[in-house]
């Protein structure tokens, strides 16, 4: 809300400078959003016209100007880039004083050229921070006219952010009341007196309120002989500074009183109301109203309207109707001042996206007890400024006033909650400064009566807040809280997730964080079939962020693609985040924490860069190695891979990952389709898995195992087998046929080629045998080893390479 200080002066006398007022308001809860200085102490500064501009002979950035000051032409040297012949600018002649006395203009010589005065920027007049060039004046400005005349008297406009709990501050008087408490200066509230002439208002108009809860109070005054015309300059000036365009005296007066008192008013052209009747009622289905902005709107029964005997004439609390608008020939006025149910105003305002100064205030709450006062104030101004005569009386339909709220305040509670030792007397004094009635406290307890304009004060804690903000939060001393551990407070699950993240980082992966909202097209590019389980936002802001992600893999690939497009060759990234699915009936939504890893480029970090793109097998080897290390470090007891058709993984290179028998992820190479979408021409390896089995395990119970006391014995075995026979099968067979003394099986060579025959593969293993309680003899080991070789030959039909 924009608040001109000159307007506040009507209600409160403040000697403090604008900056101090702004600071005090900010630190008591009304934050300053902007401070504009208008007018200026521009003593001696006049309008001047630049008639010619020439370059300074000695300096590139200076110009020599012929300046006409209304009487004479003088020579002025100017450094501003925007000076132009024919332009009009503020001019400080010799003897003028600028910047509050800091700068006195004297005859000067600049690089050898004489200058008789100075052309000014807005900053030099103290009007803004704009130092970039001269302040350009309207071409109609007359040279020689004092700038003070052109700019008007000095004033400051504060732009304040009023929090939604303080509708009482949405007016000049409301802000003045707050300042009155902050500065301890009395508030002068207008108490308008009006002369009533002519017939009774009640004889001319009847008001019916269909439902009292929709409209707790409705007042109407009738004015005749109104002369619609322009508003006086002082009113136009105030409205303009507050950000409202002047229309005509009648409309301006309603706006002026709205800003002054916080009460939205509406003036109807009484001659355009049918049947001498006002009805406050819900709109009928399909009923239509053309509002003041010229738009015809279809209403519904959740909207409250003001209607005459025939039709709606205003959308209550939001905007008047075009049909009863004040026009140049209007002579009779019905002046409405009322309160409406905030929820109804809000509904109508939101439905039509129609936000007005009126709806803004009604939504936050308008004080029913001052409705008539505001109407009287407007009537007074209409009489004064539009020559109106006021009919007798006011039609006032209302619910009876509620008794004033009383709150019991425990003064110790104030001190405890704030951590501030404030004496009783001071607390009571603060409450009284904001027009609360507080008697002397009895036994540490005060009884506080709340005035009708403070709807926000309902409970003891609300009063404590008033004390805190008015006393000043800067006076609250920092007091570190005592920090004994809280019994039972345990965040092990969070630590386990952090440990998983640490493991990934330790394994050389770079963490990424992506949006949890994604584009539908992104998900469709990977797995169109999961569409039925997606959670879509009914009202997304953009299509790029319209669906809660169902997997991390798409954004992993997207991220690798984005990096590749930016010439990053190698990346190993992971994300640890949630995915979201529509759930079964008992829980409508499911959130699952997942881990995803994506690899691009070369597996090994070699000092000598390998230009050759990695093969599919190399990429798979890399991601599998990472997974094995991760599973080991997180102590996964059992996991397995099974070839599977996964839509976004390349056929033959996609595997379902199961942990303890439950399928919970995938590992493999991205299919060419989605990969090419991101211009990733070389293979990309990914892995995605539920994070829970990797994190939420009971901490391992570690039991010491003795270090082997006896030496081990090594034997190798090399097999030539069908290429389709897997390493896994070979190892399982060796383990099955080996003795308990078989400690380790290590693959050390793998070979395919003509030497072993087509469709065949040679695999060589180093086997380690060891006993825990004695040294094994060669004979024993040879026996074990022979059994294994025999079993391999017999069960797997492989050839054993000897030598």
């Amino acid at each position: 809300m924009k608040v001109p200080l000159s307007w506040l002066n009507d209600y409160i006398t403040l000697a403090a400078p604008a900056a101090d007022i702004a600071r005090r308001l900010t630190f008591s809860g009304m934050e300053l959003e902007g401070l504009t200085t208008l007018g200026a102490s521009a003593d001696g500064i006049i309008v001047a016209e630049v008639r010619a501009v020439e370059k300074h002979p000695q300096a590139d950035k200076l110009s020599v100007c012929r300046v006409f000051d209304g009487q004479n032409e003088v020579q002025v040297v100017c450094g501003a880039p925007n000076v132009a012949a024919g332009g009009k600018y503020p001019f400080a002649p010799i003897g003028a004083v600028l910047l509050g006395g800091e700068l006195k203009i004297k005859k000067a010589k600049l690089r050898g050229v004489e200058s008789f005065g100075m052309l000014c920027s807005a900053a030099e007049l103290g009007l803004s921070d704009d130092h970039s060039g001269l302040m350009t004046l309207d071409p109609s400005a007359v040279p020689g006219v004092p700038m003070a005349e052109l700019l008007g008297p000095p004033d400051s406009v504060l732009e304040l952010e009023i929090t939604p709990n303080r509708p009482d501050c949405l007016s000049m008087i409301g802000v003045a009341r707050e300042l009155s408490a902050l500065y301890g200066t009395p508030l002068r509230k207008p108490d308008p007196e009006v002369t009533e002439t002519g017939g009774d208002a009640a004889a001319e108009i009847t008001v019916e309120v269909e439902q009292r809860s929709d409209c707790p109070r409705y007042t109407a005054r009738i004015l005749h002989q109104v002369r619609v015309g322009p508003s006086p300059a002082w009113m136009k000036d105030r409205l303009e500074k507050a950000g409202i365009r002047s229309i005509n005296n009648v409309v301006d007066i309603t706006n002026y009183v709205l800003l002054e008192t916080g009460h939205p008013l509406h003036a109807f052209d009484a001659c355009r109301l049918q049947g001498g009747k006002i009805q406050v009622r819900r709109a009928q289905p399909g009923e239509r109203l053309t509002t003041l902005d010229g738009i015809e709107r279809e209403l519904d029964p959740n909207m409250l309207v003001i209607a005459d005997a025939e039709k709606p004439v205003a959308l209550a609390g939001v905007m008047g109707g075009a049909g009863s608008e004040i026009q140049d020939d209007t002579t009779d006025i019905l002046l409405e001042s009322a309160t409406f149910d905030p929820a109804l105003v809000r509904y109508a305002s939101r439905s039509f996206q129609l936000f007005t100064d009126s709806s803004y205030r009604f939504e936050r709450g308008v004080n029913a007890e001052t409705v008539e006062w505001a109407s009287r104030r407007a009537a007074q101004l209409l009489i004064e400024l539009a020559g109106a005569s006021l009919a007798r009386g006011v039609v006032d339909i209302r619910t009876p006033p509620a008794p004033l709220r009383r709150i019991t305040l425990r003064l110790d509670r104030v001190r405890t909650l704030l951590g501030l030792q404030l004496p009783d007397k001071q607390i009571i004094a603060i409450l009284r400064s904001i027009e609360l009635t507080a008697g002397e406290p009895d036994n540490g307890v005060g009884d506080v009566v709340i005035p009708d304009f403070r709807f926000d004060l309902e409970r003891e804690v609300d009063l404590i807040e008033e004390v805190a903000r008015l006393h000043g939060l800067e006076h609250i001393p920092p007091a570190p809280s005592a920090t004994p551990p809280i019994p039972g407070a345990d965040d092990t699950p969070v630590k386990q997730v952090a440990a998983l993240r640490d493991a990934c980082v330790d394994f050389g992966l770079q963490e990424i964080v992506t949006y949890s909202l994604v584009a539908e097209s992104l998900l469709n590019g990977f797995d169109p079939d999961d569409a039925p389980r997606r959670i879509a936002l009914p009202r997304p802001v953009t299509v790029d962020q319209a669906i809660l992600r169902t997997a991390l893999t798409p954004q992993i690939v997207e991220t690798l693609g984005r990096n590749r497009a930016r010439q990053v060759q190698q990346a190993a990234v992971f994300e640890l985040g949630k995915v979201y699915h529509l759930g079964a009936s008992e829980a409508p939504h499911q959130e699952t924490r997942r881990l995803a890893i994506g690899l691009m480029g070369r597996p090994a970090h070699r000092g000598v860069w390998q230009r050759k793109p990695p093969t599919r097998e190399e990429m798979f080897d890399w991601i599998k190695g990472l997974w094995e290390r991760l599973a080991g470090r997180q102590r996964l007891p059992e996991w397995s891979l099974a070839p599977d058709r996964i839509p976004f993984l390349e056929t033959g290179y996609g595997f379902r990952l199961s942990i303890e028998g439950r399928a919970c992820g995938w590992i493999g190479l991205i299919a060419p389709g989605p990969r090419k979408e991101w211009r990733l021409h070389d293979p990309i390896a990914v892995l995605e898995v539920d994070a829970a089995p990797l994190c939420h395990r009971p901490p391992p119970r570690i039991t010491y195992q003795p270090i082997p006391a006896y030496p081990s014995v090594g034997r190798d075995v090399a097999v030539i087998a069908d290429a389709a026979l897997t390493h896994e099968t070979l190892v399982a067979t060796m383990q099955k046929s080996g003795p308990p003394e078989l400690e380790n099986i290590q693959l050390f060579d793998i070979f395919m080629g003509e030497a072993v025959g087509t469709g065949k593969r040679s695999l060589a293993y180093a086997l380690t045998y060891r006993s825990a309680n004695r040294t094994l003899t060669d004979d024993e080991v040879n026996g074990y080893h022979e059994t294994i070789k025999t079993t391999l030959k017999k069960e797997l039909n492989v050839e054993i390479r000897e030598g």
Binding site: S481, L517, E591
Partner: protein, 337 residues
Amino acid sequence: MQLSEISTLMEKAVGEAGAAPDAAGLESVRIQYLGRNGMVQAIMQALKDAPPEQRKDYGQAANQFKQAVQAAIDARRAELDNQPAAPAAGFDYTLPGSWPGSGRKHPITHIIDRSIEIFRGIGFVVAEGPDIEDEFHNFDALNTPKIHPSRDPQDTFYLASGHLLRTHTSPVQIRYMEQHPPPVRVIAPGRAYRRDTTDATHSASFHQIEGLYVDRKVSLANLKADVGYYLSRLMEREVEIRMRPHFFPFTEPSVELDFSCHVCGGKGCRVCKNSGWIEIAGAGMVDPNVFKAAGYDPEAVTGYAFGLGVERLAMILYGIPDIRLLYENDQRFLNQF
């Protein structure tokens, strides 16, 4: 072998010893001349075969040969020992090395981890809650009026089921208090969502850190000190805390917290836009209605709560000009943290 041949051979041997490039070369010179099958054997044979009258001359020549060659070898060995150890030819130690690869955390994680670490130091534990919330936990229990603007579908993402994407991490306050009797002292980092159009400082999804401390006599003075302690650690400089009154439905009194600029110390600079202060959190004393909704007795306890914006903290701490950089995940950006 003539005597003159012996002296020629000696000169040759001494010359070769002096020119041996390394220890191995020197050793082969030694073996060639003084070894068991070396030239020295031929000389000894010549001594044996020499006529008696020449034996003495031969003897002297043989001795001289042995001594001179040995001396030359010793001298050369000493010389080689004093030479710097040169790598073998073909081993280029200036080639770039290999490395196992280095992983890093995302800056958002850095801020969250560091915050957790600091708050754990003053007795907090970490709590979590779902991103998809119900209206009760996100609004009702947090004392938000039915007609409050924050509930507007214009500002909040509602789902078809009637649930919503939480607009702040504050619902974790309620969920934690529902599960734990007082006292409680928790922080809750996580994602939150608002219907904001993305620009340099706004994002429809972002991260917050919620803080809640409830006990018998928690005060606003405690809030000021504890958040001050946290920010001083995070910014690695002692900072002052300033509170400004504000309004949030779930706290009373409500405040906005500023801290004295960590770059200029409050004198005014580009980072704090010359004000000396940086706005960092919304906070306040937990509203009695929030306690009631969570099943606590508002007469028995008091508490403070605060909400910090993680992206904002990262931008301030690292001088990141655009929030979107945090979500692009450009390696060259991420490598800096």
